[in-house]
Assembly symmetry: C2
């Protein structure tokens, strides 16, 4: 392996290997290990970063600007923190239309307004035609951890319950349909949305919420594997409990994709103490982005990530290896 | 004007217009106005972001990795803060050699070690061949403002003294010579370096240090204009006091460049209370990156940015308008 491959960016095992081999070893410190979505600094401040290269820049249900704000708002939130401040760094291709740039920036501003975060610092680079494809955006963000919470990818325990805040695979299939010019009726829209308000309400359950994770690249399958690995547990989910839009399911059947591998940009997976599972579900359902929330499985001590199918059989879920769809986010 | 031009990224008036028209208006808040290098949060925490697209990726005296760490370390420092934590987000072109990626990451790790900062969070995206030119890196950073200091682009007062920490234009000319395959003897090396240790020592002068700014894109001229504008003052510098390497000066003469417009990546401009100017100079000179430091001018109430030439005449310094050299950083 002497060259970087697209699959190194796919959010699966190849990306994990690249990060561990090249970045984590070199930047060796207590913060960068542990596969958390955000670094925890000064005891209660979270810091995250994410670059966005999505193609197309405007897609059904959103655009790169909305995605860039939601992505970083959600990353901070998944550590049990209230996101407050974002940075925004643009790399723009020479010749990019000013009108489109304005649309992207307006979309960022509106999304930041909705999420209640401020964009406090920025950077603008312009590169020659062909040096970059359109516009790439990096957002980094700062949040403050809620009091009396302890949310970490390491906290799942056998007996805990697994919830998802809504339908699976919408973003991935929206991007795919836009890129392949597929028509669905109704059209499949990205779920891109800020989840911090939902998480603020979930945090009233305090330590009953053990793990929060947004299933972006690599999808639900990858998140389940990361929880399993970092918490040292197994997870079983139930196919008949999984919320998936009929259109997404049909498109997956047609194209041979597993919706568990598709990216989501407005969903969260929560691992919750069993006693509080129904309460967590009600909180999710009461939020505008959580009406299709469901309890989808449970944590066990098997170390395996399995699914009970609608046919009554059980199988191990495939962990994503590489790139399902480049430039999904 | 309906398309983004290279000159919109050049660090001069066109970039200022683009930022004010498109970004500052949309992200309207008290933090993003004011042209500071870093946002000040929670009273004493600084947050900055910078994307790096330098070409070539490896250049005389440094590489994109060293540049990415120094750039963000220096941005935090210029607000009178001690940089502590950095994020690192890579956008990598499919097919990029793993060996080169390792060199870049090693360079980042070594520079972070020297500067005493930790890289605590990261992101990796891979885009298809042609989607990006090699490797782009974003670093964002957090610092903590030193006690009893008040460093801001708005603080220059008539009577204050202007210092620079070393020779002017080295980075810009190093990139240009690499890109144009020009040979100089001795070769012109980039000055890319972390200035936080020098600034830590300068901060012992407390409020006597009014303004700190690193003259990157747009060079010394742009920084002088920004100080003039934001502090509402004039600045006069003396040509015979300016530290410039003979090789850089000759190359500028040859190519018709003004070294005041060339980018620097390891230099700072300081505006200091006159009573402490000599002390500040001694502190700079005692630092490994400040041995060519000099007092180069003074603040006045003229609102003009002028230079007293070696011929005894005085002229207004041209403010950079657009792109001298794309992808300088």
């Amino acid at each position: 392996m002497d060259k970087v491959l697209l699959s190194h960016g796919g959010g699966g095992t190849m990306m994990e290997n690249l990060i561990e081999e090249i970045f984590s070893k070199a930047f060796d410190n207590e913060y960068i290990k542990g596969m958390e979505d955000a670094a925890l600094l000064f005891g209660n401040i979270t810091l995250t970063t994410d670059s966005f290269t999505v193609k197309p820049i405007f897609f059904p249900g959103g655009d790169i600007g909305k995605l860039a704000v939601c992505g970083t708002v959600n990353d901070a939130s998944m550590r049990g923190a209230k996101p407050l401040y974002l940075t925004s760094a643009f790399i723009i291709e020479e010749g990019y239309p000013i009108e489109d740039l304005k649309r992207i920036v307006k979309s960022m501003a509106e999304t930041a307004e909705e999420a209640g975060v401020k964009i406090v610092a920025g950077d603008t680079k312009v590169v020659e035609k062909g040096g970059v494809d359109g516009v790439f955006i990096n957002t980094s963000g700062i949040g403050v951890v809620y009091e009396n919470v302890d949310v970490s990818i390491k906290n799942a325990k056998p007996g805990d319950v697994v919830l998802i805040s809504g339908t699976i695979g919408d973003h991935g299939m929206a991007i795919m349909s836009a890129r392949e010019e597929l028509q669905f009726d109704p059209p499949i829209l990205s779920d891109v949305s800020p989840l911090n308000k939902m998480i603020e309400k979930l945090m009233t359950l305090e330590k009953a919420v053990k793990v929060l994770r947004d299933p972006t690249r690599g999808g639900v399958a990858e998140v389940l594997y990361e929880i399993s690995k970092m918490s040292g547990v197994g997870i079983k989910i139930y196919e008949d409990k999984l919320p998936v839009k009929e259109s997404v399911k049909s498109a997956c059947d047609l194209m041979g994709f597993d919706f568990l591998h598709l990216a989501n940009e407005g969903k969260l997976i929560a691992v919750v103490d069993r006693k509080y599972a129904e309460e967590a579900l009600e909180i999710m359902k009461s939020d505008k982005y959580g009406k299709d929330a469901a309890i989808i499985g449970e944590v066990n001590d098997s170390k395996l990530v399995t699914i009970n199918t609608v046919y009554g059989t059980s199988r191990i879920i495939d962990r994503p290896i590489g790139e399902l769809l480049p430039r999904i986010c």
